[in-house]
């Protein structure tokens, strides 16, 4: 299993190269990869049907309990067969559909990579491994939906799908982590064995809600359903693969996979069933008024996904068996119908059902495939769709919480879906020929082969539903967590369920006949539909962008002073509470007494600083600055640092000389800021000063434990043969630092020198230029 996933990834990387070399022959060749996987997986069907489970494991990050452990049981085999089977058909189709597209090879590569991710997802038995594949499908779906990247609305749709499913993915990760803590393992098998402890844990509810959020966004459940119809901006093969057969089913798959661990509680049943039923009805209602073939299909897919989620929520053996059959039936008929929609679009140049008709003559093979798929979707015997609808009704009827609510929802939704199925698979091919942008003729075999195969699959699986019963039972058993046997058959005899199926069909056909009026009604209701959750998404996104722009323009104004104010203000706000409480609570300092000389010096320093700020002339400011400097030097002298004092004196003298030399050439001091701005700055500066005072006091509130001071006092003479400890540190213990310091000074001196020289040379140049 690991080898299968890795091989597919490797082939995906080579696909663009292969396409360049082989041209149109590349796609059929690449389709052999999933086809081969399909065959090798299918060989396990008898073994798995008999209850066998295959596992495969590769340690990845053992310290975190993350491993690539794979599990092949009924559920994962069913999904894997769907993924590889539909994948093979889609690759073959895509090669023909994208004929002449300059990036056809890339599309084939992305599709294969997606297939590998999807295969990894359904086979994973480790939560974090599953999550990695889950996110990979989200990212690849972004690339695939946005394949026609030149169009802005396509990019917007791709981003929307990514943000919705990616946001759900984040919730899912958090849910998995909580689940791992509650159950003590990240292996899904181990968690299922420990289900009682998980359900009793206080983390159960948060974990459940987060996991559900991830599953619901991925499987386009209300209120996150809006991304799926918009994702129809993708090319037809992508929509077929991602949005009908595989990726959107990942959420349903996850719910089924975790049902043994999380399911069966009132919370699970209540939330999952309600959301599923609401989605089933919403999708069907929104579908029936659409004019675009692909949007019709997209909304009906939302409805089908809702049915699947509802069935998993009900969680009875009958419901899970119904879910497994519906999953298979839906992949077959919806995959075929999406491919048919692609062919119709390709051949006629339009997807508007109102202007399509009478295509049977031009597209006979496609019409047969479309009819088979549409009849399965409508639930006509003996197709698989009929079997699955019977099971759905039966499960809804026997659901423990609220059959009275679920049955009308299920029947009503399916009535609408009958009309949708006929609008897509029957309407365009019968009746009068419509006006289309292109004159249609039959698509190449590579394109109609897929839908025909899937359509015939619906028929075969329906006719021989008895034969697939053991396999479906194994899939349902994996989702249930205990063995279960179901017997599928087309003919159940006359009973309540059959009566409902008949009523569904009759009303559905009537709705189909009235489709023109329904569409015009939907057109009038469209303004109301604009208030859906999609609007909330767009408003939220726009708000986020505005917020980001706003904060960026405030925090990074482009003015250095403004940025400095923000940094200083933030420092004050963050540091002040901590420092001030520590400084106030701190012990009084050891050097409490104040000698007169020291007080005078401190006063000099402060007076000099204040005078520098207030000075009206350049010279006065320089003098005031000098007073502060000499004051600091004398303070050093008083507190046992003669070296510092001497250095400071020297530097001060040089500084004053430098200032005086340059000052003459500088503009006079001017007040440029408004009084109000100065007041704000003064306030901020005062706060910074207060924080620094607090810092000094807070430092003194902590006891000083220096091991270095005694070391230097004792080692100065012994190790370095010097008596002045400070000098010894500078030239011996930290000699290299001092060397670096000298280098810095040298560079600064060079800078000063070159700036002065530059002036001279430019003057010289100016003097030359003046010469006649």
């Amino acid at each position: 299993m690991i080898a299968a996933v890795l091989t597919t990834i490797a082939v995906a990387a080579l696909a663009p190269l292969l396409e360049r070399r082989l041209g149109r022959r590349a796609a059929p060749l690449l389709a052999l990869v999933p086809a081969g996987l399909f065959v090798s997986l299918a060989r396990h069907v008898p073994e798995v049907s008999a209850g066998g489970v295959r596992t495969d494991s590769l340690a990845w990050i053992a310290e975190l309990g993350v491993s690539l452990s794979f599990r092949l049981d009924g559920l994962s085999l069913l999904m894997a067969l769907v993924v590889t089977g539909v994948g093979a058909v889609v690759l073959l189709y895509a090669g023909s559909y994208m004929k002449g597209h300059p990036r056809r090879g890339n599309l084939l590569g992305y599709l294969l990579a997606f297939l590998a991710a999807m295969l990894g997802l359904v086979l994973s038995d480790n939560l974090l491994g599953l999550f990695v594949f889950w996110e990979a499908t989200s990212l690849l779906s972004y690339v695939l939906i946005g394949f026609e990247r030149e169009k802005a609305e396509v990019r917007a749709s791709a981003l929307q799908a990514l943000l919705v499913t990616g946001g759900g993915g984040l919730a899912l990760l958090a849910g998995f982590v909580l689940l791992g803590q509650a159950g003590g393992s990240l292996e899904i098998g181990a968690l299922a064995a420990n289900a009682e402890a998980v359900k009793a844990s206080p983390l159960y509810l948060p974990a459940l809600l987060l996991v559900l959020l991830g599953a619901f966004t991925k499987s386009a459940q209300v209120p996150f359903h809006f991304w799926l119809p918009d994702a129809m901006a993708a090319p037809a093969p992508v929509s077929t693969f991602l949005h009908s057969a595989t990726m959107v089913k990942a959420g349903v798959f996850l719910l089924a996979r975790l049902h043994p661990t999380l399911g069966g509680t009132p919370e699970w049943t209540g939330i999952v069933t309600t959301v599923g039923a609401a989605t089933m009805l919403t999708g069907a209602l929104l579908a029936v008024g659409q004019r675009d073939l692909k949007r019709l299909l997209a909304y009906s897919t939302v409805s089908a996904l809702g049915s699947l989620v509802m069935l998993v929520g009900v969680g009875t053996p009958a419901a899970l068996a119904a879910a497994m059959v519906l999953l298979l039936a839906h992949a077959l008929y919806k995959g075929a119908l999406f491919l048919v929609a692609g062919i119709v679009d390709h051949e006629t140049g339009t997807r508007d059902v109102a202007s399509l008709g009478g295509l049977f003559r031009a597209l006979p093979v496609t019409a047969v495939a479309a009819a088979a798929a549409a009849f399965s979707m409508a639930g006509l015997p003996p197709l698989l769709g009929f079997v699955s609808k019977e099971l759905l009704y039966d499960a809804a009827l026997r659901a423990s919480p609220a059959p009275l609510l679920l049955v009308p929802v299920a029947v009503g939704s399916n009535m609408l879906l009958v009309a949708v199925a006929l609008s897509v698979g029957w309407g365009p091919f019968t009746g009068r020929a419509g006006e289309t942008p292109k004159a249609p003729h039959e698509a190449p075999a590579a394109m109609w082969a897929g839908p025909l195969l899937l359509g015939l699959g619906s028929l075969a699986a329906g006719l021989f539903s008895g034969a697939i019963s053991p396999f479906v039972s194994a899939a349902a058993a994996a989702a249930l967590g205990h063995p279960y046997g179901v017997k599928l058959e087309v003919w159940h005899g006359f009973n309540l369920v059959l009566a409902k199926s008949l009523v569904t069909l009759v009303v559905g056909v009537a709705l189909f006949a009235a489709r023109g009026r329904i569409r015009s009604l939907a057109g009038r209701l469209a303004p109301i539909a604009a208030y859906g959750p999609g609007r909330l998404y767009r408003a939220g996104l726009a708000g986020l962008v505005r917020f980001a722009k706003g904060t960026a323009s405030v925090l990074s104004s482009g003015s250095l002073r403004q940025d400095l104010r923000i940094v200083l203000g933030a420092t004050v706000v963050l540091a002040a509470p901590l420092l001030l409480t520590r400084a106030v609570l701190g012990a009084p300092d050891a050097l409490r007494s104040v000698r007169p000389l020291e007080a005078v010096l401190a006063f000099l320093v402060v007076a000099g600083a204040v005078a520098t700020v207030l000075a009206g002339s350049r010279l006065a400011a320089v003098v005031a600055l000098g007073v502060t400097g000499f004051g600091v030097a004398l303070l050093f002298l008083v507190f046992g640092a003669p070296d510092l004092a001497m250095t400071q004196f020297a530097v001060e003298t040089l500084s004053v000389l430098l200032f005086v030399a340059v000052l003459r050439r500088l503009p006079r001091l001017q007040s440029r800021s408004a009084p109000r701005a100065r007041a704000v700055d003064a306030l901020l500066a005062g706060a910074v000063g207060a924080v620094m005072t607090g810092l000094v006091l807070a430092v003194h509130a902590e006891p000083l434990r220096s091991r270095l001071a005694p070391f230097f006092r004792e080692s100065s003479l012994a190790l370095a043969k010097g008596r002045n400890v400070v000098n010894v540190i500078l030239v011996d213990f930290r000699g290299l630092d001092t060397l670096g310091e000298i280098t810095v000074l040298g560079v600064a001196a060079l800078g000063v020198f070159s700036l002065v020289r530059l002036r001279l040379s430019s003057r010289a140049a100016a003097a030359k230029g003046d010469r006649p």
């Binding site: 002073r561 400011a621 046992g640 530097v651 000063g689 002045n724 540190i729 530059l758």
Partner: protein
């Protein structure tokens, strides 16, 4: 005395910060100088004040008195004073050049011209 010095350091920082926020580039250079003093005093004070004399090993002794001032912050501050002087000298010459080229020391006006 520590309290007094802490207050003086606060005033130095406040004055330096205020000058740093001026539009006049000369005042910014003055502010840099004041912030330099403030930081040196801060580090020096953080090593505790001592009136017991400098860390020098007396003749005949093998180590400096344990009560003498802490030599480590002194060494750090000494380096800082010298580097600070280098920075100040460079900033001053740069300022002079810039004022000559731009004809003003208004930071905002320079920005608009640039």
């Amino acid at each position: 005395m520590t309290l007094l010095l802490a207050l003086a350091i606060g005033v130095l920082y406040a004055a330096g910060t205020y000058l740093l926020l001026r539009r006049s580039a000369i005042r910014v250079v003055f502010g840099l100088a004041l912030l330099g003093y403030a930081s040196n005093l801060l580090v020096f004070t953080a090593g505790r004040l001592s009136r017991e004399g400098p860390p020098i090993v007396p003749e005949g002794a093998v180590a400096a008195a344990a009560t003498s001032a802490d030599p480590l912050p002194q060494a750090l501050v000494l380096t800082a004073i010298v580097i600070g002087f280098g920075v100040q000298a460079f900033a001053l010459v740069l300022l002079k050049r810039t004022c000559q080229e731009a004809g003003t020391d208004d930071v905002d006006a320079m920005r608009e011209e640039g």
